[in-house]
Amino acid sequence: MLGRSLREVSAALKQGQITPTELCQKCLSLIKKTKFLNAYITVSEEVALKQAEESEKRYKNGQSLGDLDGIPIAVKDNFSTSGIETTCASNMLKGYIPPYNATVVQKLLDQGALLMGKTNLDEFAMGSGSTDGVFGPVKNPWSYSKQYREKRKQNPHSENEDSDWLITGGSSGGSAAAVSAFTCYAALGSDTGGSTRNPAAHCGLVGFKPSYGLVSRHGLIPLVNSMDVPGILTRCVNDAAIVLGALAGPDPRDSTTVHEPISKPFMLPSLADVSKLCIGIPKEYLVPELSSEVQSLWSKAADLFESEGAKVIEVSLPHTSYSIVCYHVLCTSEVASNMARFDGLQYGHRCDIDVSTEAMYAATRREGFNDVVRGRILSGNFFLLKENYENYFVKAQKVRRLIANDFVNAFNSGVDVLLTPTTLSEAVPYLEFIKEDNRTRSAQDDIFTQAVNMAGLPAVSIPVALSNQGLPIGLQFIGRAFCDQQLLTVAKWFEKQVQFPVIQLQELMDDCSAVLENEKLASVSLKQ
């Protein structure tokens, strides 16, 4: 049951094959068994069981709230949850219990979803590995998969298995691990420069970043307000569409949400024919650092579209190479501003020093933030200084506009969706990953993803195939602003073609084999 898709389990709930409480308990037990993944910071067991009980009553009375009623979900720990600790994986917010729910959380609860817990992340979502949070790194469930293990055995140089585990990518790594390890059916991430799509690619999931303004940010503790969007992590495109249907729409509490009517619910048609589609391949995304495996899958995917009758053309996004620098300036500037409220006065951490307010601020912030956060605050404040503002912030904003225009031009030339890699390569082992600092890693890992955030476009990472090492590789589709449904429709067609394999966790979770009953190892069509 746990291996099923959200839609499938929803049908099972409706048919009474399983009750919400049973489902909730199965997930809770799996959460306990996979605790070593460090996917969850807080497991809200009591809340979830109570919600399950209420859901069960509704099902009994035939008053189900819809597809999400009774469905276990997880939420990244940078969304405000009423009565449940919300830490952003930072010392600064340890023990902070918000008095309100983020709009997206409230919407999920209003639809009857069960909140299993709050998932791990890089501190304040600053990172691309889910390795830099105060609660420790998240382990990629694929590290323990049959697929990966078997490949490792073939490798004579294989090191100690326990220290060989892989990162999930980030910063929504906890959410990705939670969904990937079957502890819930969908999870909320956040996506500022790729934080949902990157871990989705590394964990073999669908990672969807909606158009900026489609989904409310109220209650999402901000990284970069002008780029943040709540992201959705699921095991298939249809599930992402169901969750998007529950979340999308204007919010009076977020003035940046748009009022234009959007088609709801997000029912995705099954595309039979792609011959009317035009797929754009941005030539600037073919960078030297791109692994040959990803590159080869990318080109095979393009071939697939072409062979099915779609028009596939090369397009140019000429300002791509400036994007990551520009992102760095804008991101750190907003970070410097957004982090100013964490001063130890009202909530969160406060140091013991009380000689003066200023001294208290300084010590609180030194103790509360990790090096990554402090580094970004420092550079952001530098860029915002009166003498630097024009040279850095204003210039970066101009470049941002050019980058956004690049996309507009590509779409105006007739392209429906762009197809790109999501990441340079598959997930790397933790010990490998931490050889470089957070800043270097973020610059590398966000290379294909952050430009989309600067342009406010919808994008989705779809798992395509396993690498030679048996690890997932994802590709990214980018759509026109507010054409989220069209984007997901194309993604769904593609997903169906590639038949990405289900993660095989039996070996690890021996007593969970029942969990993964009736899961079949699907063919990997792109790998031949």
Partner: protein, 556 residues
């Protein structure tokens, strides 16, 4: 000196308008303070009225002062600028604080429509250009009563620009001439007020009240003023305009109107001097005093070979002087940044309004223009035309809170001439209020009572001296009507000709010597007789009538 100072310090009690003598240049006054005893010396300068301190002395170098103002007015609205929480003065601390006001992580600002309308209305009343598109910015600084670590304001593109404010200053020998002056308005911007810090020095604690995060209008006045009185009069006029519009209650004592002054001095024709900013001006009187003090301080400093530092100074009203705030952080860099959570504020007019726009979602400048109430300048003009009063009287009527309404209510109910009403309201009534330091609303005499009293006077039922007596009785708050007082105290004029003739007769008989004097053409003697008769009537008879009777009886 003490009484008028007290009056000025009290809210709502401002009668005077600016007094300047002709020119507005500051000249060298006799330096009174020594640098070694700065505070005492300088405060004695400030207490001198400015215009006496700067009489021209031939051959002396002229100084000109340049004064600009930044005025923060709290917008009168039910809820805050960026959150739905209520606004109420003197509510218990932190009782009106939303999650946004407390800057809880993840909360976002939502602009209050009423505050935007108030800003547009104020902009229109101050002849501003209203920007169809304006932007919000974050201004960063760490302070305990600024929980977000930044204030949301409009630094780059404010909602209104390039306006003007016309105010009247009194001039001439008797200060009887009102001269209109204009100060340019650079901009009006919407911004969020900070919380309030209450410093408890005993326990070395600071207590924070976040109730105050209401909407502010920051009105920036160009440095077109040259002395404290001009600035004070301009602020008073702005205060009246805001109150007429209803966009701010603009009560300085409650912090609804706060003024910072930028002050410099220079020799005319030379570049402007280094300016200082004076803060903490919480009444119009202190504003004038602080500016004049600071001007004189700068002149003294420069004449003694010193230099002016670009610094923030605070006005100490007890000492009557300004003092450097000695901000140890040095120059603040506010690291301005666009507020990413608020889209540009777009306003429409009749021509740009999109067809089928939801009136709840758009703000139409032209529609607001149509609803503008009458402004104080128009009200004054009407008073002058309608009642034939002097312009300065119209200023006095408007400057005193509630006085105009009182005047109009009296006018409505009495048959007496408007000029008589004006004289009674501005002299007698206002005189009593001043003497007892009362506001119009605290007056023991109601408009109806005064109207009735003026009717009695108008119908010659009582004499004007009796009327003064009745007024004094009314002031005692004994709940009696003027009619009752008149009859109880028998203050009616004697209307009985026969009885009066009788009285005259008796007086003449009792004072044969005076009668002889009259007959001997002593011109003062008749007045003495009249006086004696009036005394006999307890001042109830009309002296004109007495004179007629006496003259007849004496066959003059």
């Amino acid at each position: 000196m003490a009484a008028p100072m007290l009056r000025w310090g009290c809210r709502g009690r401002r009668w005077a308008f600016a007094r300047v003598d002709g020119g507005s240049c500051h000249r060298r006054g006799a330096p009174t303070g020594s640098t070694s005893n700065q505070i005492r010396g300088e405060s004695s300068v400030a207490q001198q009225p400015l215009h006496t301190a700067q009489k021209t002395r031939k051959g002396e170098h002229k100084w000109a002062a340049v004064v600009g103002l930044e005025i923060h007015a709290q917008i009168s609205s039910n809820s805050k600028l960026f959150s739905g929480s209520q606004v109420r003065f003197s509510a218990p601390p932190n009782s009106l604080v939303s999650f946004f006001d407390a800057s809880l992580p993840g909360t976002l600002p939502v602009l209050n429509r009423r505050c935007v309308e108030a800003a547009v209305m104020t902009g229109l009343a101050l002849n501003c250009h209203i920007n169809k598109k304006s932007l919000f910015d974050r201004k960063h600084y760490f302070y305990a009563d600024l929980p977000a670590g930044y204030q949301i304001t409009q630094q780059r593109l404010p909602i209104a620009v390039n306006g003007s404010l016309i105010y009247g200053v009194c001039a001439g020998k008797k200060q009887s001439q009102v001269i209109p002056k204009t100060v340019r308005i650079k901009q009006i911007q919407l911004e969020q007020d900070s919380g309030k810090s209450l410093h408890d020095n005993l326990r070395s604690q600071t207590l924070i009240d976040l109730n105050r995060a209401v909407g502010l209008l920051e009105v920036v006045l160009e440095p077109d003023m040259s002395c404290g009185e001009e600035a004070a009069t301009a602020v008073r006029e702005l205060q009246l305009i805001l109150q007429a519009l209803g966009t701010s209650q603009a009560n300085m004592a409650e912090g609804q109107l706060r003024v910072d002054a930028n002050i410099s001095v220079h020799h005319p024709g030379e570049p402007l001097g280094v300016r200082t900013e004076v803060k903490n001006l919480n009444s119009i009187r202190f504003l004038a005093k602080a500016i004049d003090y600071e001007i004189q301080r700068q002149i003294n400093e420069l004449e003694n070979g010193g230099e002016i530092l670009n610094e923030t100074r605070s006005f100490h009203h007890k000492l009557g002087c300004t003092m450097s705030m000695r901000d140890k952080e040095g120059k603040q860099d506010y690291r301005f940044m666009p507020e990413p959570n608020l889209p540009p504020l777009v306003l429409y007019d009749a021509t740009s309004l999109p067809a089928g726009a939801d009136p709840q979602q758009v703000i139409n400048i032209d529609q607001i223009r149509e609803t503008l109430p009458e402004l104080p300048s128009v009200t004054r003009e009407k008073l002058v035309q309608q009642y034939g009063m002097l312009l300065e009287h119209s200023f006095t009527l408007l400057n005193e809170v509630g006085l105009l309404e009182f005047f109009q209510n009296v006018i409505k109910e009495t048959r007496a001439e408007p000029k008589k009403v004006t004289s009674w309201v501005l002299n007698t009534f206002l005189g009593y209020l001043k003497q007892q330091n009362l506001a119009v609303s605290e007056s023991p005499v109601t408009p109806s009572a005064l109207a009735e009293l003026l009717d009695l006077l108008d119908s010659r039922t009582i004499s004007s001296s009796a009327a003064k007596q009745v007024f004094e009785e009314l002031w005692k708050r004994e709940g009696k009507t003027p009619g009752q007082i008149v009859s109880e105290k028998q203050l009616e004029l004697m209307q009985d000709q026969g009885a009066l003739e009788q009285l005259c007769h008796s007086v003449m008989e009792a004072h044969p010597q005076v009668v002889m004097d009259v007959k001997n053409r002593n011109p003062r003697a008749i007045n003495k007789l009249i006086g004696l008769v009036r005394k006999a009537t307890q001042s109830r008879a009309d002296p004109v009538m007495i004179k007629e009777i006496l003259e007849k009886k004496l066959s003059l």
